[in-house]
């Protein structure tokens, strides 16, 4: 199966064309990339369009609370090693309309590597009959409106039961394991889990989880960590034959090494050897501005996105040690979730020793949080003032979703 051998039906063609026209109009009107609106128009004209576009592709779906955009990029790069074209929703439009729009743009592709919002995974998996599904992690996100994490896991579990796809899943996240273990064909990856506070009760029976070392098990029903065949070990990937392959990434941090490990396991399912896949992944630099280092006011500002407690925890572990200054930016607009209570689930005492500058719409919530954590901080009205308060050199800037977009604009990224 190579490329789109079967032509699309006239109706599907019309839908794709109408979608492109709508996207172009949306772009011209200055409403972003236009991919979502284009997809929405196309799906309305032909509700089966997503299934039909995907029918010509070997599809990989990627879902998680954190890391799905980056992992989608890494897998897409790894699969390009086959010499085939890959189509992907690289800009993170991860709901059905955005996915439809992305696939409509890849008429010569063989592979479709698709990031899917957690809530839509089961539905999209039914539509596109994927060959592989990568499941990275599930944790609390957007407290004011997100579905409960265990409900999401249950949704995955029911939606993926009977799927013919190979599931590549994180053996270290009990919720992910529970979601994946309804499937017949699972490749377990020891990708690690730094944030554990959403998996203290057994997703299966509600018992209290025991967590000796890196292991985990439910003392009541026997649900336990499966034996992984792939693992992240330091800065190496261990493959099923026990060979260790070095990870070289431009992207920082343990979480990205975990994403690379999962991506290598996915690539292997399509015949790409881990050393080849990992070599390709080095080319991934910044992902939609994340991890970019921007020169601004004679400082080098590294832009780090962290949207929820698990994301902040992973980010704290990758920043330069003190005395590197840290700018923290928090908003609570619609896309961020309007409840800032989650700030109290982040252990800001880990930033002790760093000069800390606080900005963003909700800088006062963060100020109280840091005051109670007993760390020193300064509050500023603008990014420029915060940057000027830091000595020349490297600054780590950590922001949640819309604060990150604001920050990128402020520093000219």
């Amino acid at each position: 199966m190579a490329g789109n051998s079967e032509p699309l039906s006239p109706r599907a063609k019309l839908a794709v064309t109408a979608g492109r026209a709508a996207a172009a109009v949306s772009r011209a009107a200055g409403r972003g990339s236009g991919s979502v609106i284009g997809g929405r128009v196309a799906l309305k004209l032909d509700p089966d369009l997503l299934a039909r576009l995907a029918a010509h592709l070997d599809v990989v779906l990627v879902s998680a609370t954190n890391g799905k955009t980056t992992t989608t990029r890494l897998i897409a790069e790894a699969l390009r090693a086959t010499g085939e074209e890959v189509v992907s929703n690289a800009l993170g439009a991860n709901m059905p309309a955005g996915i439809t729009s992305a696939l409509a743009g890849g008429s010569k592709a063989r592979y479709g590597v698709i990031e899917v919002d957690e809530k839509y995974l089961a539905g999209v998996a039914k539509d596109v009959t994927p060959k592989a599904i990568a499941l990275l992690n599930l944790s609390r996100d957007q407290l004011d409106r997100a579905a409960e994490t265990r409900m999401l896991a249950e949704h995955w579990r029911e939606g993926l039961a009977g799927s013919k796809a190979v599931i590549i899943a994180n053996a270290d996240d009990p919720l992910v394991v529970w979601a994946a273990s309804s499937s017949a064909n699972v490749v377990w990856v020891a990708a690690g889990q730094e944030w554990k506070d959403d998996a203290w009760s057994c997703p299966s029976c509600g018992g209290v989880m025991q967590r000796p070392g890196d292991d985990w098990l439910c003392g009541e029903c026997g649900f336990r960590r499966p034996t992984p065949t792939w693992a992240l070990s330091g800065d190496h990937v261990l493959d099923p034959h026990g060979s260790a392959w070095p990870i070289r990434l431009q992207l920082p941090g343990r979480a990205n090494r975990a994403n690379a490990t999962t991506s290598a396991a996915v690539a292997a399912a399509f015949g790409v050897p881990p050393q080849v896949a990992l070599e390709r992944m080095y080319s991934v630099q910044a992902v939609a501005g994340r991890y970019d280092v921007v020169s601004y006011l004679d400082r080098d500002i590294r832009l780090l996105l962290a949207k929820n407690p698990a994301g902040w925890l992973e980010t704290f572990s990758l920043i330069d040690p003190p005395p590197a200054p840290v700018i923290l930016a928090v908003n609570a607009r619609g896309a961020d979730g309007t409840d800032t209570s989650w700030l109290w689930d982040v252990d800001y005492s880990r930033l002790a020793g760093h000069p800390i500058c606080v900005i963003g719409d909700r800088r006062l919530d963060l100020a109280v949080r840091l005051e109670v954590a007993g760390v020193d901080f300064q509050v500023f009205d603008t990014a420029a003032e915060a940057v000027r308060a830091c000595p020349p050199g490297r600054i780590e800037a950590i922001a949640n979703y819309t604060a990150f977009q604001d920050l990128r604009r402020a520093v000219g990224n």
């Binding site: 409840d339 109290w344 954590a373």
Partner: protein
């Protein structure tokens, strides 16, 4: 207090710590320490017995299934009820507030027995989920400033004759009964739907809990600059033009 340190018990962080209510523990701990008090914080997981010797117990919000599990384990354990009988001070939030009442509706749609420490009964609301900022006037007997918080719940809580409303809402839904009440209290047990977390938005409530636990009328002042700035901002945001 049973010895020289203030014992703060955080009930079931593994089940009732989903909405940032851990902040209530951190604020009580911090403000007690700022007054020179030694604090012994005890985080009690749901497979451990609840100590009965605590001075202040904090119970947070949680999702529907963990709420049922927490109620089952608290009933079986009995420690929190014994602590309440001993006169311990208890602050409960959202799902925790419902558990402290006579009964609530669990994730299976069934009536689940609570601990009966507050004379309230909760049901599932018919209308839209209550989500957003809240402003309310606290029961004047408690001599507290205006209450600000964030609510996020489907529950409707009816007060019985021995529970007093903790506050009356100016903005937001509170108990969801339509009568303007928010939360409930008797002399030592408090329940509220307010997240934020509630003690970060209202540090005087944290001080009230400490004063009740120590049986004193006043505490030395602490630097409330950032709390006050946040309170002003949230009150303005709630009352100002959208």
């Amino acid at each position: 207090m049973s010895d020289s340190s203030l014992r703060v018990v955080w009930v079931y962080p593994d089940l009732l710590s989903t909405y940032g209510d851990q902040g209530n523990v951190l604020v009580v701990e911090r403000r007690a320490q700022q007054r020179g008090l030694a604090v012994q914080r005890m985080d009690v997981r749901s497979d451990q017995p609840i100590p009965t010797s605590g001075d202040i117990y904090l119970v947070g919000g949680g999702e529907d299934r963990p709420q049922r599990l927490a109620a089952e384990r608290l009933r079986r354990d009995g420690g929190l009820s014994r602590a309440a009988d001993n006169g311990a001070i208890i602050l409960s939030v959202c799902a925790g507030y419902q558990i402290l009442g006579h009964e609530f509706v669990n994730d299976l749609g069934q009536r689940e027995e609570g601990l009966g420490l507050l004379d309230v009964t909760s049901v599932r609301g018919e209308g839209e989920r209550c989500v957003g900022d809240v402003l309310a006037d606290v029961d004047e007997r408690l001599r507290l400033p205006q209450l600000t918080g964030f609510e996020n719940h489907q529950g409707v809580t009816h007060l019985g004759p021995t529970a007093r409303p903790f506050a009356r809402v100016r903005l937001g839904r509170g108990n969801g009964t339509g009568d303007g009440t928010e939360g409930a209290w008797n002399d030592t047990v408090f329940g509220t739907y307010m997240h934020g977390p509630v003690l970060a938005r209202n540090p005087q409530i944290a001080d009230l809990l400490i004063k009740l636990a120590l049986d004193v009328n006043a505490l030395p002042p602490v630097d409330d600059r950032w709390y006050e700035a946040l309170r002003r901002e949230r009150v303005a945001a709630a009352t100002g033009p959208a």
